[in-house]
Chain length 374, copies 2
């Protein structure tokens, strides 16, 4: 089995319109309506874009750290009636010039990774590590124009459109010079630092393979070299067989709490057919994802009757390496471990990478299966 | 150069008294006063200790996750006037039966790792990973009987006594069956989940080498195999030479912000002589640590005029492997990045292990050097 680089798929109708914001950033509208008018211009007076951040390699771990000093100065996000992700209205321009939209993606104004020229003032920091510009790109993905919605309430056809936008961005960003991995994710909830309530996610196009992905690929490679098969497929098969941690499934996807969950409530969603990334999903697979995933999200919110803070992380194969080993899947997890308690990453996790999970995965799965959804 | 396993050092006078708490847990008093009376008995009626937690290996990363379901039931910690780490008083028994103490260490009542027999009811969880009992031990270290103190206000001789307690525990815990790494640390601040204000730290005796240590040892080993020297010594030398990130130093220790800091405010303290662990420090080195470290801690608190949440993590060589590669050092970091803002570990860090730091390390070092200390 061979895999080529991420490629754009073309299936049913989707209109894609690219415009430039006032400071030169790209904004891309994704519409099912072929007649959507996307001609509105951004007339704001925006400051120039910040210089690129810097990558520094930690000599003790070999890992790259992005040092983005310019982000420290970013404005605290404004109140809901000045939400920058809502469509623009007369006298109230936002990041999205149109008066309405379905799905909109734009370059982050304060990116951790960007193609901007590095700040010439940056001196050699000394020390033992290497440095280089933090090339790459960071994008914001608006899932809906409805400020008060959430991913869990998106209708299936909207989830499909979001998935096509993710696939489009994965293919485009993978083609940028120096990009090695494209990461589509959603952070949700004030408890993990989100102060912007509008339903949105982010995309990081990294100029390196991230530590967790690198680790997974090394383990999958070692498994194959020891005579094992496809590690991700074997994990999926074992969880489907064990059944006790399965939260939901349909023809194309299975959602389960992993046996060695790191987080109190953690669910992984795997497609039954192994594919390297979102670009490789067939229309039927894409269509089947939304109903299962939004059901899991509603179960999260039903656990304690409060909106759960969560991170939803798409694991995709890197652009160049390990494409025959990696397997597209979504890892969803929450830091809430009870109605009134959060899981904090303190000494053991933050300093040593050693996780302690206070919720038995089988119990988490049972609670999720029994959760009341609205 | 060869290194043997961690060994108890014997230097100046220190009295060490071990007693048993009502449920069988060990409590060890460390006193400079040879006449300290440590005979008080624990007369509380305590429930039996919980069964051992379970270790599960994540098949996709090879890492061990401790699943400690019994901890979920642990009581929320009580208000300050019922602090379980204060000395006992008539009618108010605490975890420490004595009416006063200098430094006291006891086994955690809700441990992530313990020598208790595993719960026989634990069924095979299925899935692809291995499981085994979470052997090891978790201890609580009370730095002072003064509820309102903090590590930063401890006098030098008390810091020395704490260091001798850490060294004692490192040697003892290293000798327990199955223990592979001993981690002494302090979590401080409600922002990272601490609800117990009494100045205390913890010790985890892990039954495996933690992921971050394993990674550092692999990098140091590869560096040596490529013809390099001692990686930790080279990092220290390079930071001392670059100077711009040095926060403080004395004859035996240097404190610096690492060039590739992961956290907004992060300081590493290295002894100038490379030793594998706390047990190997000479009395002069031990004596020199406290004044420098507490000065750095006071600078942390002086940055924004508020008590900084922090994790202080002693990196020690594992018990059996890599003892010729590892180098004792302390990694101190805070999640506070501004007076009114925290650094949250969201998608990039939590899901992918890819850190973005919004504070330039040279700027962090300058701010710490200029911070007003009280």
């Amino acid at each position: 089995m061979t895999f080529s680089a991420p490629e754009k798929a073309t299936h049913s109708t989707m209109k894609r319109t690219t415009v430039r914001l006032a400071d030169g950033r790209e904004l891309i509208y994704f519409d099912r309506d072929e007649n959507a008018d996307r001609g509105a211009a951004d007339r704001r007076d925006l400051p120039p874009r910040p210089p690129a951040a810097e990558l520094r390699r930690d000599p003790l771990t070999g890992e790259w750290i992005a040092i983005a000093g310019h982000r420290q100065g970013r404005t605290l996000l404004p109140p809901a009636d000045q939400c920058p992700l809502c469509p623009s209205a007369p006298g109230r321009p936002t990041e999205i010039p149109a008066a309405g939209y379905e799905v909109a993606v734009f370059e982050n104004r304060f990116p951790s990774f960007s193609a901007s020229a590095p700040d010439d003032g940056a001196a050699d920091p000394g020390g033992l590590g290497e440095t280089r510009p933090a090339a790459g790109r960071c994008e914001v993905v608006c899932f809906t124009a409805d400020h008060d919605a959430s991913f869990s309430t998106l209708p299936p056809d909207r989830v499909e459109l979001v998935m096509r936008a993710w696939a489009d961005r994965t293919a485009e960003l993978s083609a940028l010079p120096g990009v090695e991995q494209v990461f589509c994710f959603e952070n949700r909830g004030a408890e993990i630092g989100i102060t912007l309530g509008h339903p949105h996610g982010q995309i990081y196009a990294y100029p390196y393979v991230t530590p967790r992905t690198r680790r997974m690929l090394a383990v999958a490679r070692a498994h194959r070299e020891r005579g094992g098969g496809d590690l991700f497929a074997e994990v999926l098969a074992a969880e489907r067989k064990a059944e006790v941690r399965v939260v939901g499934r349909n023809e194309h996807w299975t959602a389960f709490v992993p046996a060695a969950a790191r987080w109190p409530f953690e669910v992984h969603l795997y497609p039954h057919r192994r594919v390297p990334d979102l670009c490789a999903l067939e229309p039927a697979e894409r269509a089947a994802f939304g109903p299962l995933y939004t059901d899991v999200l509603r179960r999260f919110d039903g656990l304690f009757g409060v909106a759960m803070p969560y991170v939803a992380a798409w694991h995709q194969a890197p652009v160049r390496e390990g494409r025959d080993l990696a397997c597209l899947h979504l890892e969803l997890f929450s830091i809430r471990r009870a109605a009134d308690r959060l899981k904090y990453l303190a000494g053991s996790e933050s300093a040593m990478g050693a996780f302690v999970n206070d919720v038995l995965p089988e119990e988490a799965a049972r609670m999720l299966r029994e959760a009341v959804t609205n």
